[in-house]
Symmetry: none
Subunit: 248 residues, 2 copies
């Protein structure tokens, strides 16, 4: 049996049962659990499912409303968010990107932290609703209803008028030679401006985005001051470190 067939069948079973277990699949396919585990890891890296201890569950389905979207804070993002918190101190002006990674940071922001948050993300802003000590500056613009962020000229102009201490840049593809890239043109343009407006640029990146590239260019990798990820000791990241980017 070809490997690809196996991968397909795993996705099939997952669709059927809303979960798969290593031991079941190992038996059904007559291969070792290690193999299944590697298969599942590969599918997970392709973003087709979520790997959990003992098996896998379907990927958080493309949530529509941003209220749903908030529920999807994966373990990885939680880990990354906690590391990100270490960068924050009273009095700072902080730009939050629109992605779920930045949202995860917002969701665990201590209530007593006194900062100013500039963002173009509804979810981030509403997450900060009962943080008395956080001042929220919201970027105007055209509203993307899929992800509830604003984009366009207004948004860019807003960030052009800000000098921030830190910018938390959500997941983008990062490649040492190609640089930081994004899947959407508008998004890329906004991120560019956020980066230009910030003293320190911190990228929040899950492993699967490392050494990949997408259609729209944002900046050279070296424009990032820090990359926060779950696998700071990964060999690929050492090259980034050598290029002067701090890895956490």
């Amino acid at each position: 049996m070809l490997k690809e067939e196996r991968l397909q069948l795993i996705l099939c079973r997952l669709e059927e049962n809303k979960k798969v277990r290593l031991c079941d699949l190992s038996e059904e396919l007559s291969v070792s659990e290690d193999t299944i585990r590697r298969d599942i890891r590969e599918l997970s890296e392709r973003g087709l499912l979520t790997m959990v201890r003992g098996g896998a569950i379907p990927h958080a389905p493309g949530p529509k409303s941003f209220t749903d979207r908030i529920h999807f804070a994966s373990k990885d993002k939680q880990i990354i968010a906690r590391k990100a918190l270490e960068f924050l101190h009273d009095g700072q002006v902080v730009i939050f990107d629109g992605g779920t990674s930045a949202l995860a940071v917002a969701s665990i922001l201590p209530k007593d932290l006194k900062i100013t948050v500039a963002t173009n993300s509804f979810p981030v802003a509403s997450m900060l609703e009962d943080h008395q000590n956080v001042e929220v500056l919201f970027a105007g613009g055209r509203l993307y209803k899929e992800s509830f962020v604003t984009t366009g000229f207004e948004t860019i102009r807003f960030f052009q008028q800000i000098r921030a201490d830190i910018c938390f840049l959500g997941i983008c593809s990062i490649h040492l030679q190609i640089g930081v890239t994004s899947h959407f043109y508008e998004e890329a343009e906004v991120k560019k401006t956020m980066i230009a407006a910030s003293n320190l640029v911190v990228a929040l990146t899950t492993p699967e985005k490392i050494d990949t590239a997408e259609s729209y260019y944002i900046c050279p990798a070296t424009d990032l001051n820090t990359i926060i990820t779950t696998i700071p000791h990964d060999a690929r990241l050492q090259l980034f470190n050598a290029a002067g980017i701090s890895i956490r």
Copy 2:
């Protein structure tokens, strides 16, 4: 059963019953209370619920809170909102004020109406989430967390750059001699700009606001083109009519 399934089921039960108890879950899932406790702690760390003694309750009023507020759209406001709809046609650019009256209009907007909405109100914007045909332009600025509207220079500048066909002005105090007034300075400034940006100004006013005044001046009463209210035949309103303001 995978651990992850257990976590999902806990969230499920929480959604259903608005609370979960360790002992119930322990029995249902056939694991020790300790395990459930650890699960709940983990979910709590992910920000998906609030851990309390003996179980868990849903997360503190989060992002949904301002959509919840929408429910107290009184009967009066429903009536006013329905009348307001008659002013809307495909292709218009419409400014929505931040108050609950304008929100009531947004909440009954037909799904097939093709308009552009400019607003500084989070609730209005999120109300239009699944209106495919409505383009939303959102005004940036400082976010007031009490009412979830933006205000300040940014907001004013945003509306200065717009030419709207209609503006729905939420409840303000209206007095024939004193004019239109509001309780908050910032709010008054924003409303001024909205009025200046619009071809037609429609005020949505419950009866108790008529012939009253507050601290901050917005504009002379005659700047309003139309007043929509529940009591169009009230004697006091005839004077407004005589001054050239249409009463509905």
